[in-house]
């Protein structure tokens, strides 16, 4: 299947509540032509090749207490023991013991841990992709302190190279690598959009300034589906009088390489941003309202580059909070009750817990926290690429209901978040359940309430 053929066969569904691949007639959850033996070998190789001491300690420490099941939203709604987070790694635990652990030689020689089979990997595809958003809630319950989410990411490295990725996710990731944007927001599309938005909203949106203090990035979901975010960002940055720019050589922060498990693609996309920021001599790179984009650049960028980043990386909420704290950004009061959905990658795993709350405080809203909130928040169910996978919908909607119950319980008038992926999951969920409630963007809420008084 050539690249264009793939596009024709599975055209992007841009108009729906979520940006995804149109429901494919034929399932292509197996990619490429490989012998079974080669698939297994590549799965193991790519799983093990990025292994290190920390992951090894995790693999050595599990005591099979089963507590992680309690933390997982998928298990919570399904009750299916297979959705126990650590069980999702079972073939890879086997692979670790057989291929890499201290007793690997014994396990191999005595064949105590049999070689993983393609059938097993195929069976586990659903567990590793459809029923895991890599939200990391399970990592907080593990009495051994195992970061299970990081192991799932690592297992996906093997799955991808074995050509065992859910097809929609693979198609989105592949397109991201090929065109620079998973959803078709190519540099040309992006430039057109920016020009059109600037025109439409009579606002100055700098693009491709050779030098700028701040390089701003966007997620493809925002570019294609929530273009208001672009306007909102421009409005705020212009108000702050910051020397900033978008750059067509590095604007797209979404990282489906990370989600699908292709480290090469992940690196390629991350390096684009880094190179663009370095070229612009940026002091700061502002990341959009996108969870995995945050993880990919903020916490993994320097490791991709191989040295500390020569600039600061901030999520837009952090950027806003900083400017509110320094008094540069003043906002009008919003007399509404608001509940805030904590995006897993930004809050729980990213550590930006207080920034969104500082912004909300500046907006003067009555913040009604969910129960639980912050780092313990339930995931929306769409992260980690799950929202792109159609066959995952049934369970995902149940998870989504869990989330909505949480939100309804607060009784807040407004629900906002600061992750476009969460937003599209909400939009899709609301459409599915034919609900009225909208999930707002923190960024847009701020842009709408910029104080006029200087």
């Amino acid at each position: 299947m050539s690249a264009t053929a793939a596009d024709e066969k599975h055209p992007l569904e841009l108009e729906g509540a979520r940006v995804s691949v149109k429901k494919p007639e034929v399932r292509y959850d197996v990619q490429g032509e490989m012998s079974e033996a080669e698939r297994v070998a590549r799965a193991m190789q790519n799983f093990v090749k990025d292994f290190g001491r920390t992951a090894a300690i995790y693999m050595e420490s599990c005591i099979h207490c089963g507590m992680c099941a309690e933390a997982c939203h998928f298990h919570h709604v399904s009750g299916d023991p297979r959705h126990t987070p650590i069980w999702k790694l079972e073939p890879f635990k086997q692979a670790y013991k057989r291929e890499y652990g201290p007793f690997a030689w014994i396990y191999r020689t005595l064949n105590l841990k049999p070689k993983v089979t393609v059938a097993e990997l195929a069976e586990w595809q659903e567990l590793l992709y459809d029923t895991c958003t890599v939200c990391g809630r399970c990592s907080l319950i593990c009495p051994m302190g195992i970061d299970i989410a990081s192991l799932v990411s690592q297992a996906r490295h093997g799955m991808f190279q074995a050509g065992l990725v859910p097809h929609e996710l693979w198609a989105v990731a592949e397109r991201g690598a090929r065109e620079g944007s998973p959803l078709g927001a190519t540099p040309k599309v992006f430039a057109d959009r920016v020009a059109w938005l600037a025109d439409d909203h009579e606002i100055d949106i700098p693009l491709d300034k050779p030098k700028a203090d701040v390089v701003v990035t966007m997620s493809s979901i925002e570019i294609m589906k929530y273009p208001d975010s672009i306007v909102a960002t421009a409005r705020i940055l212009n108000r702050l009088g910051v020397d900033w720019t978008f750059r067509t050589d590095g604007y797209e922060a979404t990282n489906f390489g990370l989600l699908s498990g292709n480290t090469a693609w992940q690196k390629k996309m991350t390096m684009k941003l880094i190179d663009a920021a370095i070229a612009a001599g940026a002091k700061t790179v502002v990341l959009p309202e996108c969870g995995h984009a945050y993880t990919a650049l903020r916490w993994m960028g320097a490791n991709m580059l191989g040295r500390p980043l020569p600039f600061e990386v901030q999520h837009i909420a952090e950027f806003l909070a900083d400017n509110i704290r320094s008094g540069k950004l003043r906002l009008k009061k919003v007399a509404k009750s608001v509940t805030f959905h904590d995006p897993c990658q930004i809050v729980r795993r990213g550590g930006a817990v207080e920034a969104p709350r500082i912004v909300l405080e500046a907006l003067g809203v009555e913040l009604r926290e969910m129960e639980p909130a912050k780092g313990l928040n339930w995931c929306c169910g769409g992260g980690g690429g799950v929202v792109t996978i159609h066959r995952a919908d049934r369970l995902r909607y149940k998870v989504y209901q869990l989330k909505m119950e949480q939100i309804e319980k607060t009784g807040a008038e407004l629900a906002v978040t600061t992750c476009a992926n969460c937003r599209q999951t909400f939009d899709d969920g609301q459409a599915h359940f034919k609900s009225e409630r909208e999930m707002g963007s923190l960024l847009e809420l701020v842009a709408e309430n910029l104080s006029d008084g200087e």
Binding site: M1, S2, Y28, Q31, Q161
Partner: protein, 362 residues
């Protein structure tokens, strides 16, 4: 002597009253850990029996066991010898000597063939055909084999004849073995101890006299009546063990207060014997009561089980050297495993990179 007479008749002739005999049997019952009510029954039984012939052969031994039995207080040695059994040969105690003594032995074995009790103290050396211990020019080994043939039963007195004892301690230059290693076809009762409690020796004889058979034995061939429980179980200091109160040295407050001697190496918990109840020296005391831990002398190989002053729990886990060697081996294996894992990883990186350009497409 007329062996047809019963013990009861002989006693009566000797002017021993029924009261005296009943008292004697009460004491025997107490000693054999039988219920107090058994005394009168025993008196009845013993009175109607004939005196058995007893032949006592000393082998590779120290005469400590004989010393011990001469200190037996219940019944007194005199009454045991003259009234209850016919001790026909005991080279240490008998008046006869030399050829005369050997003639007595030969006569006793012939006269009572198949009926006499054979008591043995001392182990049997095997090396050089048993040449390391001889009596009248004959090795213990040969003598034992001959004497065993006519014995109704063999009673091994002391740890040496029971289990080999000190002669058998490593490196065992004489290849000493217990009687049970030489004689396989005769009932054997082991009365171990170094020496055994004197009243246990007589107690076994009394049982034989009372019931006409050998007492019930444990798997190590010891009479359960005396070796059924550990010293620890019957020790009057046991409550302190349970309370966790221990003497730490031989002269500390705990030692003076009579607390448990476990920490000082007492082997009471693994020693089956009756010292704690029967005691020694006419019931005066026993080692633990005197402030010293039990050595476990009635157990097999007691001499080779480490220091008498090492607590039982301080098992032989090895030495700093062996543990160090194990640690070194562990570190080396770990390093090798990590090295192998890294090499494997390098290979995987290379292999994974090789077909990387091939897009996984249809």
């Amino acid at each position: 002597m007329n062996p047809a007479k019963t013990i009861g008749e002989r006693l009566a002739e000797a002017g021993v009253s029924r009261r005296a005999f009943l008292k004697f049997c009460t004491a025997l019952a107490s000693m054999m850990a039988l219920p107090p009510a058994a005394g009168p029954a025993m008196a009845q039984a013993i009175a109607t029996r004939e005196r058995p012939s007893v032949i006592w052969l000393p082998f590779q031994e120290c005469t400590g066991c004989t010393e011990s039995i001469t200190r037996s207080h219940t019944p007194t040695l005199e009454s045991l010898i003259f009234d209850l059994v016919s001790l026909d040969y005991q080279e240490t105690l008998m008046a006869a000597a030399g050829h005369q003594a050997e003639a007595v032995l030969a006569a006793a074995m012939k006269e009572n063939f198949g009926k006499y009790l054979l008591i043995v103290d001392g182990s049997v050396p095997l090396v050089e055909d048993g040449a390391y211990s001889c009596t009248a020019g004959r090795s213990n080994l040969a003598l034992l084999k001959e004497a065993a043939q006519g014995a109704a039963a063999i009673i091994c007195v002391g740890t040496c004849s029971s289990y080999g004892g000190i002669p058998r301690a490593a490196p065992n230059p004489t290849q000493a073995v217990p009687v049970s290693a030489v004689v396989k076809d005769r009932p054997i009762v082991n009365v171990p101890g170094c020496p055994p409690i004197p009243v246990v020796i007589t107690g076994v004889l009394a049982h034989y006299l009372t019931f006409g058979n050998l007492p019930e034995l444990d798997p190590l061939g010891r009479p359960k009546a005396f070796y059924g429980e550990t010293i620890h179980d019957r020790c009057y200091r046991r409550p302190f063990y349970d309370q966790g109160r221990f003497a730490k040295t031989f002269d500390d407050e705990g030692a003076r207060s009579g607390w448990c001697l476990y920490e000082l190496g007492c082997k009471g918990p693994v020693t089956y014997n009756a010292c704690a109840t029967l005691k020694w020296n006419a019931g005066t005391s026993f080692p633990i009561q005197s402030g010293h831990g039990c050595l476990g002398c009635s157990e097999p190989d007691f001499w080779d089980r480490g220091s008498f002053y090492r607590p039982l729990a301080a098992a032989d886990w090895g030495s700093a050297k062996t543990v160090g060697a194990a640690a070194a081996a562990g570190v080396a294996l770990g390093a090798a495993a990590a090295w192998a894992a890294r090499r494997r990883q390098d290979r995987f990186v290379k292999e994974a990179a090789a077909p990387a350009d091939r897009k996984p497409e249809g």
